[in-house]
Symmetry: C2
Subunit: 220 residues, 2 copies
Amino acid sequence: MAAKSEQTRQLVADVALKMFREIGFEKTTMRAIAQEAGVSVGNAYYYFASKDELVQELYIQVQDEHAVVAAQALEGVQDLAGRLKAVLHTGVDVMAPYHQFGSDFIATAIRPSSPVNPFGAASTAAREASLAIFRSAVEGSPPAVAKKLRGDLPELLWLAYMGVALFWVYDQSEGQRRTRKLIDGAAPLVARGLSLAKIPGVSKVFDDVLGLVRNVKEDS
Amino acid sequence: MAAKSEQTRQLVADVALKMFREIGFEKTTMRAIAQEAGVSVGNAYYYFASKDELVQELYIQVQDEHAVVAAQALEGVQDLAGRLKAVLHTGVDVMAPYHQFGSDFIATAIRPSSPVNPFGAASTAAREASLAIFRSAVEGSPPAVAKKLRGDLPELLWLAYMGVALFWVYDQSEGQRRTRKLIDGAAPLVARGLSLAKIPGVSKVFDDVLGLVRNVKEDS
DNA sequence: ACTCATTCTTGAACACGTTCAAAAAATTTC
DNA sequence: GAAATTTTTTGAACGTGTTCAAGAATGAGT
């Protein structure tokens, strides 16, 4: 088994993530990581082709943790608003230790070329995992959501989650209180807004929105 | 008159923007700008404290142009959907020459510390100018929009515009066709969606959305 | 045990954005 | 106009992410 190799890789990743948390992204230089881990700079690059890939490591880890705690928080919660709250709040929870570093993360993640870009090909797995959380949030709430919406809803909610994450990055209130408030306010509103889809006049607009989303998504 | 000094400043800015357009952001190094402009690197830094500030220069210029062409495109258009389309399409028009460079721009702009961050203090003037465009788009369309929405609508539309810009950055279809399609589809939908505010059951949800926006915006 | 190939590790080197002490040029003061 | 002051300009230097040729360690086959 490639024990030694994997060990070095983990060591570098662990040291890097620890330093990200403790002193931030920019101050965590590749040289500092290497020194702290007791390896050469080039060796760190043997395992991670760029500093961005270390961010990807963080991204995956945070995502995994989110899946666990979200599943836990969803237990016993039935209504869509509550389930949405659970998923969003736990999402913010797992990101919390990295808040000061959030803006650098977003700046890294937002470039199409980045392995961490949430829309990109390189993070398909992570995105799927995240989408799955929202799918389970939607599927667990029995009647509230109109049939035709069920299919696209998880993806739309995930997109909204990206928006919340962006808001969170800019949120300088202590403990990111404002983000919490946004979640608490927006989740019931989304649920109520969706229930409006039953009103005839509104239903048509919903249809068109979904049509547009599908249309734009499939390029053509 | 500080002719000489201003001349150097303009020269550096012009060369930089030209290179941004022609070879992209990353390949346009400060050394290359200086060389092309016939000044020293340090001299470029005398006028622009960072490469980001050169991006800010671009941002302001694009914004100014948007104000001009949008005002032109709004002439004679009455309905909200049409006016929204006009503003959004012209917005994409003025950004077009910089599309390949868009992702770098966004990555720069998104960090809270950046002078170009659209939400930040350093770009208040530019944001106000952009907001004014949306304000005039809303105010020019007579009856369609409910009173209570008028006040906040420009800001919300501006926010949506930021979303469109983000979409545009990722849009790799030729000529950013998909973004055009998104605008054409979304503008009428927004207008129709807003007209739903008259329906009693819907109106309540709209009120709550506005309440949430205001609540979250004012921190507290 | 001895080759040979593969995997892992090293540290010097590169180009980049940025800084800064010092020089040059322009301007103001007398 | 000379001296003093301010504005502008220079280029070497720093620390950064990243690359790469070269060497060391490991493992496979005989």
